[in-house]
């Protein structure tokens, strides 16, 4: 277990800050495939069915699939672009300031020529800032798309990274910005993240008031739960653990121990349930397809607990 990094309180405060009052529930996990999206979709549907205005943000931009679980087609695409520098060769004097400013060494200046963009540019625009001749113009490079789909009684915001693009975190940011512009219309945001503890996950969880860390009982699940809870500790985000596929019964001890270690607790334990698998295949959330199944009842309780905790 690596030593937990301490962040300056200003950074933590900035991370938790948001410009609206609508609460944000994060649904995340260290390990992939543990059921984040299943949890997020069922909570969103349950709360929507109870009359809450819910926005579900699918921020797993590398593999967004909440729409698949809801059985809906994505609508209202908007491109996400970053600005790439393009040199106006008539203005450029070849001074080379942009070459020194580029942290990624992406620009090359041939002798007597003007800068060429040869390496990978992440759109930071430092070259624009340092250029005394104002010789750079922005050329958009599309790195992904966002979608806004109103269906099934809720609003789904989906982010999608363009294959081969690296700017996942940028797409997550653009997606959240799009959803948050409409914050006044919603009672709750549910943000479904990528698995892991990397920058996409961090950006997705920025501003969250409460986070559900989903896990399974396997050693992999336990190990990665430890990681994600450590991340949540670093940013001081309140969390609860949701155990999925809890089979056989009685083996949840290690998960409870990890949760306790991080001063949190297991809020819900979902058994292996055929109805969940059937609903998954049919692309209808279990809470709507089999409302009396054990899983659906647990989701209802969880939704109620979340609504109470977030005071919506």
């Amino acid at each position: 277990m690596p030593a937990v990094k301490k962040l300056a309180p200003e950074i933590v405060a900035a991370f938790q800050r948001k410009k609206f009052t609508t609460p944000i529930l994060g649904v995340t996990s260290g390990k992939g495939g543990v059921g984040k999206t299943t949890v997020a979709v069922n909570l969103a549907c349950n709360l929507a069915d109870h009359g809450y205005k819910v926005a579900l943000i699918d921020a797993d931009v590398d593999a967004p699939n909440a729409a698949l679980l809801l059985g809906i087609a994505l609508e209202n695409p908007e491109p996400v672009s970053i600005g790439m520098p393009e040199v106006n060769t008539e203005r450029c004097t070849g001074c080379g300031l942009c070459i020194d400013a580029c942290r990624l060494n992406a620009l090359f200046l041939p002798k007597g020529g003007t800068p060429l963009l040869l390496g990978q540019c992440n759109g930071c625009e430092a070259c624009f800032l340092v250029c005394p001749e104002d010789a750079f113009t922005r050329k958009a490079r599309m790195v992904g798309s966002t979608y806004c789909t109103a269906s099934c009684g809720l609003t789904l915001f989906t982010g999608e990274l363009t294959p081969t693009a690296e700017e996942s975190a940028g797409v997550v940011k653009a997606l959240k910005a799009r959803a948050f512009r409409q914050a006044a219309e919603f009672d709750l945001f549910i943000v479904d993240t990528s698995p892991g503890t990397h920058c996409n996950v961090i950006f997705a969880l920025e501003g969250a008031d409460l986070v559900l860390a989903v896990t399974e009982l396997s050693p992999l699940g336990a190990h990665d739960l430890e990681l994600i809870l450590s991340l949540l500790d670093i940013f001081a985000i309140p969390s609860r653990v949701v155990v999925n596929r809890a089979e056989p019964p009685g083996t949840t001890e290690p998960i409870h121990a990890i949760a306790a270690l991080h001063h949190t607790r297991v809020q819900a334990t979902l058994p292996l349930d055929d109805s969940l698998v059937k609903s998954y295949v049919e692309a209808v959330p279990v809470i709507r397809m089999f409302p009396q199944s054990s899983c659906a009842l647990i989701f209802s309780e969880l939704a109620e607990a979340v609504a109470k905790e977030l005071a919506i």
């Binding site: 070459i99 580029c102 942290r103 990624l104 060494n105 992406a106 620009l107 090359f108 200046l109 041939p110 002798k111 020529g113 060429l116 040869l118 390496g119 990978q120 992440n122 930071c124 690296e166 700017e167 996942s168 975190a169 940028g170 997550v172 940011k173 990397h198 920058c199 950006f203």
Partner: protein
């Protein structure tokens, strides 16, 4: 000809370094007089774009040819844009002096776009991206 040899040390007795952008030193050698100037490579520990940075340093120093092991795809483009000839395939076991001797015997031939994108150069590119560089690229929105 002002020839740059990528090397592990500061003089001609040092071993060559087959990596172009990551070599710790560039030995700038006048092939007529054998006068040698060593330039420390600040890009050897750079996260991303070491090859382009290295090409920039050589361009600014008026180098006309490079003798090294392999040049990555981005650096190939930079060197071509700068009109610097590239000679690849030095033996990492050789000292810089031995490499120059072989060079003078005509062992190496100038390559044009030896490491095309998607070709054998891809291996190098991949290594660069999966290192620190990749972390940077992804983490900055």
């Amino acid at each position: 000809m002002k020839l740059c040899i990528t090397a592990t040390g500061k003089d001609l007795s040092a071993r060559v370094d087959p990596r172009f952008g990551r070599a710790p030193y560039f030995l700038l050698v006048d092939t007529e007089t054998l006068h040698c100037e060593a330039v420390a490579n600040p890009a050897s520990a750079t996260g991303q774009g070491a090859g382009i940075k290295a090409a920039q340093i050589l361009t600014d120093r008026g180098v006309t040819a490079v003798l090294t092991g392999t040049v990555g795809p981005n650096a190939v483009e930079a060197l071509q844009a700068a009109g610097i000839k590239t000679y690849e395939g030095v033996d990492p076991g050789d000292t810089a002096q031995e490499a120059i001797d072989r060079f003078k015997q005509g062992t190496f031939s100038a390559s044009s776009a030896v490491s095309p994108r998607g070709g054998c150069g891809q291996g190098l590119g991949f290594g660069r991206k999966d290192g620190l560089g990749r972390g940077w690229g992804r983490c900055r929105p």
